[in-house]
């Protein structure tokens, strides 16, 4: 599903949850909403950004094991490269960049 970067169409967030007050963070230059307790991976998936990075042969990589063991969900968080999105809790004002593997 190739969602335009600045629009969240149909949210993947389940209704069966009580969430806190959303805050804003930045993903590839766009402002997106995140809820307390959500990981970077969840926020990226929720706003339709499934391509997290590219492997050495140029093929896309994303969330896979969910438990921080496969290292496929690497993104750049607040300038730090190759951070596992599935193990990183979101914070207000966090800046995420996708599509990179090596140092910026």
């Amino acid at each position: 599903m190739n969602a335009p970067h600045d629009i969240v169409i149909k949210d993947l967030r389940l209704k069966n949850a009580r969430r806190g007050i959303p805050f804003q963070m930045e993903v590839d230059g766009c402002v997106v909403d995140a809820y307390p307790g959500e990981t970077v991976a969840a926020v990226l998936l929720a706003c339709g950004k499934r391509v997290f990075s590219y492997a050495p042969d140029g093929s896309a990589r994303s969330y896979s094991c969910g438990i921080g063991r496969c290292f496929n969900c690497l993104v750049t968080v607040d300038g730090l490269s190759n951070v596992r999105a599935c193990q990183t809790s979101t914070q207000p004002g966090m800046v995420i960049r996708t599509g990179l593997r090596e140092a910026e």
Binding site: M1, L12, N16, T39, R50, G66, R69, C70, F71
Partner: protein
């Protein structure tokens, strides 16, 4: 730098159960958990800020267990990921992600759980292809659907549970594909049922009823054979497979899905026992390493115990029972309990444990995988996902005389990427055994060295090297 009598690595059923037992015996215990939220991958607890409207019974049980562990006096250190363990006296445990960089412990119980088996096929690395465990973690820990239209493919009870749980959240499931033919599963159940507790039987039945009620297509002897899409999953090709796991091309169908959940069973996470160079054997049914343990679940390295799925994949109940036994074993060594009393306690636990082992074995028989783990792969299919090493490259290495995982690594760079071989190592061992005609023990040999994953330099400073 803290020094404690007992460190437990992992805050899942085995780790928490061990911590509770140890704390009750008065042992000062520290649980090291790499995750922000305790509970491990069985309970999959949501963080405090993402509350469930109707908590599932696992959630209630998991939270209660954590409360009991803390009430008994054990401490849980979250976001504390172990990147190295040095067999000094006491053991030196190196951490990343936490303010604490290092812990010294007299005894260690390893309980990091399991990882998922990979069964490669064209397109399996596309964004949108995730493991069944990864889907469950997203669903329960993050309260999020893994996609809008899901295909589930693989074998075993985990994907049954996944299908039922996705369906109960009104998530559309295009199909649930079970690799094994129906007749082989039904014939296996007779032995399994004899070793099944009533509540487990009801649990399985509940999943089946849900799948039936939601009219989810449940196909036996079928598999996903290709994930389609440019940069992410846009569809899938599914087909009937034969008993060797090979697709029957005349049955191929293309379906429209945006997420593929794969469940091919769990493998013990032996990264710590291999790091410590403990003795391992290849588990005959799992086809991967498990650490050798004595009756107290101590590994071949004195003072280091292994409990739960990390040592054999026998499920949550077995994990909790093993956690207790390992804690009793450590307690004897720490002079917190007499050998006689510990043996009395352990005898009762071992009786229940043997029932669990028999059931786990029955399940493994029923959902046994085809001998060739590359039954769906072609030569261009990626095997080492981090370094993009293909099946053809691995076979070439084997032809050139590389007959162990370590040798193939030197030849091809497989296992040198970010995950340090976590994902590809068990698979490459099996590929070598298949194509190199060597036994699995020889093929699976590899060396594990710290750091277990890339750590920032600051996490390694302040250490005496």
């Amino acid at each position: 730098m803290r020094e404690i009598p007992l460190a437990i690595i992992g805050a899942g059923p085995a780790g928490l159960s061990a911590a509770l037992q140890a704390a009750k015996l008065g042992i000062h215990t520290l649980v090291l958990d790499m995750h922000a939220q305790s509970g491990g991958h069985y309970f999959n607890l949501p963080p405090d800020e993402l509350n469930s409207c109707q908590p599932a019974k696992e959630e209630i049980e998991g939270k209660s267990l954590i409360d009991q562990v803390k009430a008994a006096g054990a401490e849980i250190l979250s976001s504390a990921e172990v990147w190295g363990i040095y067999p000094e006296d006491p053991f030196r445990i190196c951490l990343s992600g936490n303010k604490a960089k290092e812990i010294r412990a007299s005894k260690i119980i390893l309980a990091p759980g399991a990882i998922e088996r990979i069964w490669p096929f064209p397109g399996w690395t596309l964004p949108g292809v995730i493991s069944a465990g990864g889907a469950l973690t997203l669903l329960k820990n993050q309260k999020m659907s893994p996609g809008r239209k899901i295909l589930i493919s693989g074998t075993g009870p985990l994907q049954l549970s996944l299908a039922a749980q996705l369906a109960s959240q009104d998530i559309e499931i295009a199909g649930l594909l079970e690799l094994k033919p129906r007749r082989s599963i039904l014939s296996g159940w007779r032995s399994a049922v004899g070793n099944m507790t009533y509540h487990r039987f009801r649990e399985g039945l509940g999943y089946l009823r849900k799948i039936q009620a939601e009219k989810i297509p449940y196909l036996f002897g079928w598999s996903v054979i290709e994930a389609i899409g440019k940069n992410e999953v846009e569809g899938a090709v599914i087909a009937r497979v034969d008993s060797a796991g090979k697709p029957i091309s005349s049955t191929e169908k293309t379906i429209d899905v945006d997420c593929i959940c794969l469940g091919y069973g769990l493998l013990p996470d032996t990264q710590f026992t291999r790091l410590l160079e403990c003795d391992h054997v290849i588990h005959p049914q799992i086809g991967a390493w498990v650490p050798v343990r004595n009756e107290w679940l101590q590994t071949s390295l004195g003072g280091v115990f292994a409990a739960g799925d990390a040592a054999g994949v026998a499920g949550k109940v077995a994990a909790m029972l093993e956690g207790k036994i390992a804690a009793l074993g450590a307690a004897i060594q720490l002079d917190q309990i007499s050998g006689e009393r510990a043996s009395e306690e352990a005898a009762k636990i071992r009786r229940r444990l043997s029932v669990e082992y028999r059931f786990a074995e029955a399940l493994q028989q029923i959902f046994s995988l085809p001998a060739n783990p590359c039954s769906l792969a072609n030569p261009e299919t990626v095997i080492c996902r981090c370094e993009c090493i293909t099946l053809a490259q691995i076979q070439e290495a084997v032809q050139d005389g590389a007959t162990s995982v370590q040798a193939v690594k030197y030849h091809s760079r497989s296992g040198m990427g970010w995950c340090r071989g976590t994902s590809c190592t068990p698979l490459i061992g099996q590929i070598i055994a298949q194509y190199g005609k060597v036994n699995l023990e020889h093929a699976s040999r590899s060396t594990t060295r710290p750091p277990l994953f890339p750590v920032p330099l600051e996490d390694a400073l302040d250490h005496e090297v």
